[in-house]
């Protein structure tokens, strides 16, 4: 896998004054994957992304993008959507997208042509010649995202891309990210909304307090927590609780307990023999949110959704 790493960061550290905001973060993003950087607000996600892109220089540690230590050397292959959205309000949508493409080396004329196509595909064809100041926040955000991919970058870095978008536009953005992946691009995005990461990410890193707490797939993260079983008896009655694992707690009409290490079968056998029957049984996989809470710790959760 090492050979097809698009991003490789090792021990990134950053101080703001005397405050250590990023503390030895390692990242390895494989080519063609969607990679999530998760963490509560203030975890150091934005600073980490800025260091990856060369906007900030790390105080310690190193990073390479496409094998280059200087990200600017491959700047034309990168698209970036910053957390703080920014467009010139007096620019027209088409011009704004072409301008962002031109900053990344795309011919202005070509950029204008692509901008029209992208806006049309994103359902904003009617706003091609509208000025940015006339757009809603969600539309402007979408325009900016289009501006960050108009030059067809190989690596797209999105900082909190879903922030401030309504559910319809969030869905549209998810589709766009998947389309870019299908095109062959590698996508790195930060978020503190677990649902997006759960749906999109091939791999993810969880950062809290400036440190990386986890790196792996969503399933790897979930595996940090045991699965739960939710059992609903056909006939409830005295003695049922004694047949269930010690950690079983009432949940609705049934009981919820950790999936025992030797499996669910022995438990089912006991309740069947006890005459309680099975009205319902489900095995619950922990959500990414649960895994996140476990990895980060409840005190570090911040405003994670």
């Amino acid at each position: 896998m090492a050979d097809d790493l698009v991003v490789r960061a090792s021990g990134l550290c950053k101080y703001f004054g005397d405050r250590l905001v990023v503390d030895g973060v390692d990242l390895e993003v494989p080519q063609g994957r969607i990679y999530g950087v998760l963490g509560p607000n203030g975890a150091g996600k934005t600073t980490t992304l800025r260091m990856l892109l060369g906007i900030l220089e790390p105080d310690r540690g190193s990073r390479t993008i496409f094998g280059h230590a200087n990200p600017r050397a491959v700047g034309d292959r990168i698209g970036y959507l910053p957390e703080e959205r920014g467009l010139y309000p007096a620019m027209k949508c088409r011009e704004a997208i072409a301008f962002m493409g031109a900053l990344r080396g795309l011919d202005w004329k070509e950029g204008r042509a692509r901008a029209g196509d992208l806006l049309e595909a994103a359902g904003l064809g009617h706003a091609v010649d509208d000025k940015i100041r006339k757009l809603s926040k969600g539309m402007a955000q979408l325009v900016q995202l289009l501006g960050s991919i108009v030059h067809r970058p190989d690596l797209i870095v999105l900082d909190e891309p879903f922030s401030g978008l309504d559910p319809v536009n969030q869905e549209r953005l998810e589709a766009l990210i998947r389309a870019e992946q299908e095109r062959g691009a590698t996508i790195v995005f930060s978020t503190h909304v677990m649902a997006h990461a759960e749906r999109l990410c091939d791999r993810l890193a969880i950062i809290a307090g400036g440190r990386r707490r986890f790196e792996g797939t969503v399933d790897d993260a979930r595996a940090k927590l045991p699965m739960h079983a939710l059992y609903t008896p056909r006939v409830a009655g005295n003695g049922l609780a004694a047949l269930l694992p010690a950690d079983a707690v009432p949940a609705g009409d049934g009981f919820r307990f950790l999936l025992p290490a030797d499996g669910i079968e022995p438990v089912l056998e006991r309740v069947m023999k006890g005459g309680h029957g099975i009205a319902g049984l489900s095995i619950e996989r922990p959500s990414l949110h649960d895994a996140f809470v476990r990895i980060v710790g409840r005190d570090n959760m911040g405003d994670v959704e």
């Binding site: 101080y15 703001f16 004054g17 005397d18 405050r19 906007i55 900030l56 970036y80 920014g86 900016q144």
Partner: protein, 418 residues
């Protein structure tokens, strides 16, 4: 009503505190001191130029010893009746060499003095050569002759004149020293005026990007130095458009004004008019880029419109300071002060433009342009570095951190964990 007043005062209190408790307010507060200081420097420079120019100007009378003595005596008497400001240029009596007008014309060409007018010939039929704009000098020479003749005769009728003078305006073949200093000063003033008018805009140039957050997109895509230089060049284009528009209007407008006998030859700079314009344009470019880079860098540190407004005054003072220094230098070419102004990067474009008026050598200009260009690059580099550190949070701001090493010791409570 009471509530309204209270709310108004809450806002007033916030604005007052937000304005006063900033370092820029101190600059704003002390600005008049700087202004007075620089105005004094500029005024002294201008006065020095007037004085030095006046001391070099003469009117000449070609006369034999006997007439010369009488003329000098009359000049001594008449001169007292003028105020200092209106007093004629110094009179010099020149011994005739028999060539008449040829001698008079030769005196115009000699470089020791700036000659306004030369009188020669018999006092009764005086001929006066005068340069453009020297009508009063010619009239004074005629009056001297008249008084000498009157002193020698008694019983003259009122209004009867004994001298019949003929005034011949001539085109000056060599430029005057005063004219050269004047054109040097004009160059300083014009470049100063244009940069004052145009480069000051640079202070708020990054405000838009900071306000609408575009700056991070720019910083991610291109080096900050390119962002700064690009913005500077863009604004310089605007400045050129402005200069071209008003330059065209001014040159067309001048056609409708009387020239009052002034000749372009009297304003001829030492390096020649075409080169003077070429270097003038180059120095304007350098002045704009240098001061613009400083203003852009300073303005980029401002985070609010209020801070930008507060910075405008110190910036204007800085420009006036450079003008004061350069105008002083223009009035004293060849002095240590002039050399300092020519070397100091931010006054160099002004002073070197003035130098072109009095010094015919070209190599100092090429050297100066290279020097100034180096400082443009250096200023942009420092401004971008300060911006990256101070605004993009690549470490805390301030000069100490700008030039010092970053701390690598983690703060308490943030030690790396295993």
């Amino acid at each position: 009503m009471k509530r309204l007043v209270r709310q108004t005062l809450v806002i007033a209190r916030r604005d007052f505190i937000a304005t006063v408790f900033t370092p820029t307010f101190l600059l704003f507060l002390l600005a008049p001191f700087f202004m007075i200081g620089f105005a004094t420097i500029g005024g002294l420079g201008a006065r020095q130029m007037v004085t030095s120019t006046k001391g070099n100007v003469s009117i000449l009378f070609i006369a034999n010893a006997a007439d010369g003595a009488k003329i000098a005596a009359v000049d001594g008497q008449l001169r007292k009746s003028f105020s200092m400001a209106e007093r004629p240029a110094d009179l010099m009596i020149i011994k005739p060499d028999g060539r008449g007008e040829a001698q008079a014309r030769a005196l115009f060409a000699q470089g020791k003095h700036d000659v306004y007018a030369v009188a020669f010939g018999p006092l009764e039929r005086l001929t006066i050569l005068r340069s453009g704009g020297s009508d009063r000098s010619a009239a004074y020479l005629a009056e001297l002759a008249e008084q000498v003749l009157r002193d020698g005769k008694a019983g003259l009728a009122t209004g009867q004149r004994l001298t019949d003078s003929r005034v011949i305006p001539i085109e000056r073949e060599t430029p005057t020293q005063g004219g050269r200093q004047g054109i040097g000063f004009a160059a300083v003033f014009i470049i100063f005026f244009l940069t004052l008018l145009l480069a000051g805009q640079a202070v708020g140039m990054l405000a838009e990007e900071k306000g609408n957050k575009v700056i991070e997109i720019l910083a991610a895509a291109v080096p900050l130095e390119s962002v700064f230089l690009g913005k500077l060049i863009g604004m310089f284009g605007v400045a050129l458009l402005f200069v071209a528009f008003w330059g065209l209007l001014a040159t067309q407008g001048l056609n409708y004004f009387p020239t009052n006998g002034l000749s372009l030859a009297t304003l001829q700079p030492a390096i020649g008019l075409p080169l003077f314009f070429v270097f003038g344009a180059a120095y304007f470019t350098m002045a704009y880029l240098l001061l613009g880079a400083v203003f852009l860098g300073v303005g980029a540190q401002a985070s609010t419109v209020r801070e930008i407004q507060m910075l405008s005054l110190p910036i204007t003072i800085f420009q006036v300071a450079m003008f004061g220094l350069s105008s002083s230098a223009a009035s004293q070419p060849g002095t240590d002060m002039a050399l300092f102004a020519e070397i100091f990067p931010f006054s160099s474009p002004f002073s070197m433009a003035a130098r072109g008026a009095t010094d015919p050598r070209i190599w100092p200009h090429l050297l100066a342009l290279g020097w100034q260009l180096t400082w443009v690059a250096l200023t942009i580099f420092v401004a971008a570095r300060m911006f990256r550190r101070g605004v993009l949070k690549s470490g805390s701001g301030g000069l100490k951190r700008l030039f010092g090493r970053q701390k690598s010791v983690p703060a308490a409570g943030l030690e790396p964990r295993s």
